[in-house]
């Protein structure tokens, strides 16, 4: 593996408040403090490009074990690399679920062998993600999970959620939550509102998310233990979290690209590539989510990369599985919407939301360009205009609503521990 010298790039390293045009040297897979005299380097011209810490996506579904027709750890990792991500965090709703240390070890060993990026895994809060009894949290912590979540499902029993929080604290394991009140949501498949009324599709009301966001705020306060709310979709969820954070409650939240790129009127053609959970909501929700990102209420951005086979999605709308692939469109959408179009945040803040912020939440030794850190680096052309083409995806699946969308900005090279993994 050659040592790399990234020449004349705009180095943006939010963890170190660094934003300057300079050279960056990578020696033996780590960020070098200075350019060693007489060293031999492969030089990469980064003029006009941004040199950022490797991006982290803390919300992906890589489907192994059990559903490798949708995605594998290897193909998911390639999709991550193609999208500029050097680290990903897998959700535990596999088959079987990640609810024992042996599944944790299986994933970690497979990732070690086959993945071109760093693959971390979460563990389930409850056995079988059934929401009834605690999974072996301590044993999974020892096996190397980085967080707990029942993502895809939501613990409905508030007492059980409380005890999970208290128990997880012993292992310093962050708890992430997919916020969905089952009684309110019922069989909902799209945002409840004007369009669900018109289309005759069962509605998934915003209150179904907000109810659990509020529950989490109360439990985080009660237990004095942080909770991270996954994939916020509703504007009122942002307002609840803003108020709670102002009161010092340890609550945080993430937003996915599709929830700020598309609204519920996209469902008019009953295209199942627009079906996700939580659902696409209204223009007002989009504005509130973007406002939350701009004013620091939302501290993390993630994809909720959820691959499904074409044949699984090509069914009646209410029978189709929820979710879309996201890793290969994520950075482009965030750059396009947040930095270029709405100007809600600047480039350094966007990079922070995709690097040091998730690294801090999950206590990962990643997300910075500090000297000595593992040389995970993403080189970004923030102004490159490109068109999404699902046929070129590295992911095993192509279930995206963004095929054909024109975007501005993308990763042009992805480096993991000093090795170029994309292109």
């Amino acid at each position: 593996m050659p040592n790399l010298l990234l020449r004349h790039g705009r180095i943006i390293d939010p963890a170190n408040r660094r934003d300057e045009t300079a050279d960056l040297a990578i020696v033996d897979g780590r960020i070098a403090a200075m350019i060693p005299a007489g060293g031999v380097f492969e030089e990469i011209d980064c003029r006009g490009l941004v040199v950022a810490p490797g991006l982290i996506d803390l919300h992906v579904h890589f489907r192994e074990p059990g559903q490798s027709a949708k995605e594998t750890i290897a193909t998911g990792a390639r999709a991550a690399a193609a999208g500029g991500f050097t680290s990903v965090v897998c959700m535990p709703n596999t088959l079987p679920a990640v609810d024992t240390p042996s599944v944790v070890s299986w994933i970690r060993e497979k990732a070690e062998r086959e993945a071109c990026v760093n693959v971390f895994t979460t563990g389930a809060i409850t056995k079988g993600i059934a929401g009834e009894e605690l999974a072996p949290i301590g044993s999974m912590a020892r096996a190397g999970i980085v967080a707990l979540t029942d993502d895809g499902h939501c613990v409905q029993n508030h007492e059980l959620m409380r005890r999970a929080l208290e128990y997880a604290r012993m292992f310093q394991l962050p708890v992430l939550d997919h916020c969905q009140d089952y009684a309110l949501v019922g069989k909902g498949v799209m945002h409840e509102g004007y369009w669900s009324t018109l289309l005759g599709l069962p509605g998934w009301p915003s209150a179904g998310e907000e109810m659990i966001v509020m529950r989490n705020i109360l439990l985080a306060g009660l237990c004095e233990t942080p909770i991270h709310c996954q994939h916020l979709s509703s504007g009122d969820s942002v307002r609840l979290i803003r108020d709670a954070r102002a009161r010092g409650i340890p609550i945080s939240a993430e937003v996915c690209p599709h929830h700020i790129a598309l609204s519920d009127d996209s469902l008019q053609g009953y295209d199942t590539n627009f079906k996700m959970n939580p659902p696409l909501r209204t223009r007002a929700d989009i504005d509130a989510l973007i406002q939350g990102i701009a004013d620091g209420v939302v501290t993390i951005l993630a994809s909720d990369h959820a691959p499904h086979c074409a044949y699984e999605k090509e069914v009646e709308f209410d029978m189709a599985p929820f979710g879309i692939v996201g890793l290969e469109t994520e950075l482009g959408l965030f750059l396009d919407i947040l930095v270029h179009k709405s100007r809600a945040i600047d480039l350094p803040r966007l990079i922070a939301l995709l690097t040091i912020e998730p690294a801090r939440l999950l206590r990962l030794d990643r997300g910075t360009l500090s000297p000595g850190a593992p040389a995970d680096v993403t080189i970004i052309d923030p102004d490159l205009e490109w068109t999404v083409d699902a046929a070129t995806f590295q992911s095993r699946s192509t279930n995206t609503p963004f095929h054909g969308r024109e975007l501005k900005g993308r990763a042009v090279r992805t480096i993991v521990a000093g090795k170029t993994v994309w292109p």
Binding site: G193, T197, L198, G200, G269, Y270, E314, V315, F317
Partner: protein, 324 residues
């Protein structure tokens, strides 16, 4: 159509749709054109020989994933009167019960050279899904809570036949609007042809979102009855899963049922409609259902003519499309 069907003069519309998926897709002119075509076909059913050769050699599949007797029979008879061959498939007799997807089942029907597929399905959007994947005509016979276009067309046909027009009339639709595909198709069709629409029912079953469609919503049936030209009562269901929407059928009848007292408040000449099957004594008083103001059985008769028109027009458009 045969040369003997010239008494009505259909408005000049170039019908190009191979499918009928939703009233929302149709222009006011297209709706009127279907009604005019149906008027011509209605005469066929009154003849000694109730058959024309319009669809001779065509195969129609009644694909009813959700059970129905009335609509399926109506489509079946309509197809017979047009001389089409008809096959009936239900969810339990199809391979859907063996896990085959809707798409694969439909592709198999197409491989058997089905020309027209009439689909009833519990999932909103299912007919659109099929129409995008099949060369055959797809006719929506009701999809989830989305649309039931031929029901709306037969409702409009019946109103127009009795009252001579649609524009300017005030129509009340009463009952479970939230879960009703009939309500949606009726609302779209009536608004497109210039009627005023008022929705009446329990607040749990008539969400305010409907007002954005340009209709009026009320929960007071007594105030609205003297003003309307047509009252269309929807079937009320009170199965286990609906118990959170209203407490009992008795309370429903007390607040929204068309009792004799309420029927007496209607304008002279106002029509009473119901898509059926009716619950006597629940949404409508039994004697009122049988009264001269009730056009419930006319709706059934007209449904046949409307469905003949729809099959004739869509199959014709499909043939032209295919030939091109």
């Amino acid at each position: 159509m045969t040369g003997k069907l010239k008494s009505s003069q259909p408005s000049a519309v170039n019908w190009t749709r191979k499918d009928l998926i939703a009233i929302q897709d149709l222009s006011p002119e297209e709706i009127t054109f279907v009604l005019d075509t149906a008027a011509a076909f209605k005469q066929v059913s009154a003849r000694e020989i109730k058959k024309v050769p319009s669809l001779r050699g065509k195969t129609l599949v009644n694909f009813f994933v959700e059970p129905s007797t009335r609509t399926r029979t109506s489509f079946e008879l309509a197809a017979f009167r047009l001389s089409a061959d008809v096959v009936n498939i239900s969810a339990s007799t199809s391979s859907l019960s063996k896990g085959e997807t809707l798409k694969d089942t439909a592709l198999n029907l197409q491989a058997l050279h089905a020309d027209i597929i009439v689909l009833r399905h519990s999932s909103a959007g299912a007919p659109l899904f099929l129409s995008q994947r099949l060369a055959a005509s797809v006719i929506n016979a009701g999809d989830g809570a989305h649309e039931h276009p031929t029901q709306a067309l037969l409702d409009l046909f019946t109103i127009r036949e009795r009252l001579g027009r649609i524009a300017g009339l005030h129509v009340a639709i009463v009952g479970d609007i939230l879960f009703s595909r009939v309500a949606r198709s009726d609302i779209f069709a009536l608004l497109k042809l210039g009627a005023r629409v008022t929705l009446v029912g329990p607040s749990t079953l008539v969400p305010r979102e409907f007002e954005k469609l340009g209709v009026h919503v009320t929960h007071d049936i007594d105030s609205i009855l003297p003003e309307v030209d047509v009252v269309n009562l929807l079937r009320i269901q009170h199965e286990r899963q609906r118990k959170e929407y209203f407490p009992s059928l008795g309370e429903y009848t007390a607040f929204f049922g068309l009792t004799r007292e309420r029927a007496a408040r209607l304008k002279p000449g106002a029509l009473i409609m119901h898509p059926g099957p009716i619950n006597r004594g629940v949404e409508i008083d039994s004697e009122i259902a049988d009264s001269t103001r009730s056009v419930i059985l006319d709706q059934v008769t007209n449904g046949l003519a409307v469905r003949m028109a729809v099959l004739y027009l869509c199959a014709g458009a499909a043939s032209i499309e295919h030939a091109l």
